[in-house]
């Protein structure tokens, strides 16, 4: 199998697919690495339905799938990047074992994940992320006849609530922590993005029967070992709703592990890039949620820019500058509208688990001075998720800088790492 490419793209969501197709069409040899079983990323997950024309973005997915398939991109599914052992080289792992792929240009398009903020009861079964519940339903979870509460913050809430209703659940409430005034400000900002406005309005009209609360947030979930109820607050009063599923997530954060490992400069939570999407590391081009949480359209524009630019067609990349600007502004307005409110810092009680991998509680973490001390003394962030869940929570709750990464950035087999040692010896590293 060929292991050396002009361009390697990591992540086959909209941004990665666009980048790979454009670079390959421009004549470059391109490899597209992806962790999941099928291309499409989180937004186009379960894309057989999308390809058949049922999904809301079926057209775009079908078009980019054809371009990826038709341009000779080498697609490798089920692959995790675990290390960057030398410049221009990735250590990867799949079911088949460890391997290496080398590149001239690298386009990380690793997307984002939900921000989880701990509250009493968030470890009960039946409490999931917002995108998390949607992913489980797409993967066959039958929620017909169950009571669902969708809560947290961000544009995902309405979309997922609508999808849960279509899947046969009773959506008991949609609970957005941002105050209405902030949302209206955001709505005004969105006037310059008609596609987004219509999308939002469509979800809203579909959800009119559910109770849509703004300026309310989840304070705790109740149940013995499975969620049975959720308690909400608006600061002045509380209410408790019975539910079978509580989907709760606080907007998205970028998956920065790979750019950090590569040494890319991070500014205000995102990879800093120039107008060609190039990071501070020459030859490393970052796109999509890595440079600002803006969704599919932003990722596709940025993916195309990085594809053209990495292939040496900077004029064609520059032609997309205005569309890029529009989506960057959109991403910034999302961040402003959906900033978690300070009251959420007060939710964990002494015994609330913050680090789910190692069962480390708020009481153990609160007296610590920083992330490093927390890791050394409590094992917070040292479990299998490597701080992907509790890192964001600790940053928000305690104000810690949780930036440090070290390889392997994903749990890897010893054989994969041993092969890396061997390869380094052969290279004379």
């Amino acid at each position: 199998m060929k292991t050396s490419f002009d361009v390697v793209v990591v992540g086959a969501g909209p941004g990665g697919m666009a980048a790979a197709a454009v670079a390959a069409e421009a004549g470059k040899s391109v490899c597209l690495l992806d962790a999941n079983a099928a291309i499409g990323g989180q937004i186009w997950r379960g894309n057989s339905a999308e390809a058949a024309g049922h999904g809301p973005h079926a057209g775009e997915f079908a078009a980019w799938s054809l371009r990826v398939a038709g341009s000779g991109v080498a697609v490798r599914q089920g692959v995790e990047v675990v290390d960057v052992p030398a410049p221009g080289l990735l250590r990867i792992e799949s079911e088949g074992g460890g391997d290496e792929v080398s590149f001239e240009h690298l386009i990380p398009a690793t997307g984002g994940r939900e921000r989880f903020l701990p509250f009493p009861g968030w470890t009960l079964r039946g409490v999931t992320g917002v995108g998390g519940l949607q992913a489980l339903v797409k993967a066959g979870l039958d929620i017909r006849g169950t009571r669902v509460v969708v809560a947290g913050t961000g544009p995902l809430l309405l979309a997922v609530a609508a999808a849960m209703k279509r899947a046969g659940a009773s959506v008991e409430a949609i609970v957005e922590q941002a105050p209405l005034a902030t949302l209206l400000r955001f709505g005004v900002a969105a006037l310059s993005h008609p596609a987004k406005l219509i999308e939002g309005a469509g979800y809203r009209s579909e959800m009119l029967s559910a109770s849509y609360l703004t300026g309310w947030w989840v304070t705790r979930a109740g149940g013995t070992d499975r969620v049975e109820s959720v308690t909400l607050s608006c600061g002045r009063e509380e209410k408790t709703l019975a539910c079978d599923w509580l989907a709760c997530g606080y907007h998205l954060v970028p998956n920065l592990e790979l750019p950090r490992l590569l040494g890319c400069t991070i500014q205000a939570g995102y990879v800093a890039v120039d107008d060609m999407q190039q990071s501070s590391v020459p030859g490393v081009w970052c796109v999509g949620e890595l440079t600002g949480i803006g969704g599919m359209e932003k990722a596709i524009v940025e993916g195309q820019i990085a594809g053209f630019a990495s292939a040496g067609f900077s004029e064609r990349a520059r032609a997309l500058a205005r569309r890029r600007r529009k989506w960057i502004d959109f991403a910034a307005s999302l961040d402003r509208a959906f900033t978690p409110r300070p009251e959420l810092r007060a939710l964990p009680t002494a015994g609330t688990i913050v680090c789910r991998c190692e069962d480390v509680t708020h009481e153990q973490l609160a007296p610590k001075r920083n992330w490093r001390e927390a890791k050394l003394h409590t094992r917070c962030g040292m479990g299998p998720c490597q701080g992907r869940i509790c890192g964001g929570a600790a940053e928000f709750l305690y104000g810690w800088d949780v930036a440090a990464v070290r390889p392997p950035v994903f749990p890897a087999k010893v054989s994969t790492l041993a092969a890396e040692e061997h390869a380094a010896t052969v290279r004379g590293a």
Binding site: S48, F116, V127, T128, G131, A135, A139, R226, R356, I389
Partner: protein, 81 residues
């Protein structure tokens, strides 16, 4: 649930799921936990995208597999970790 064609066994419970169902989705429908935490709390899938690692299970004897990522196959045996 239980109206599909694919028979799988989860902690000894036999269920049938539709083709294309992930192991995580099947487990959530049985009421079984994916894993027990270090303090013994039963846990289920949280993120649905392979990042939180709460869905790791032993599948056909292979430990630490992320159940969200594995599709149910006929006769598959799944055990909580």
């Amino acid at each position: 649930m239980n109206d599909g064609q694919i028979p799988v066994t989860i902690n000894g419970k036999h269920i049938r799921v539709k083709e294309g169902t992930s192991v995580a989705a099947a487990v959530m429908m049985t009421g079984e936990p994916c894993r027990y935490s270090v303090q013994g709390q039963p846990r289920g899938a949280l993120c649905g995208m392979g990042i939180c690692m709460e869905c790791r299970m032993s599948i056909d004897g292979v430990p630490h597999r992320r159940a969200y990522q594995v599709l149910c196959a006929p006769g598959m045996k799944v055990v909580s970790e």
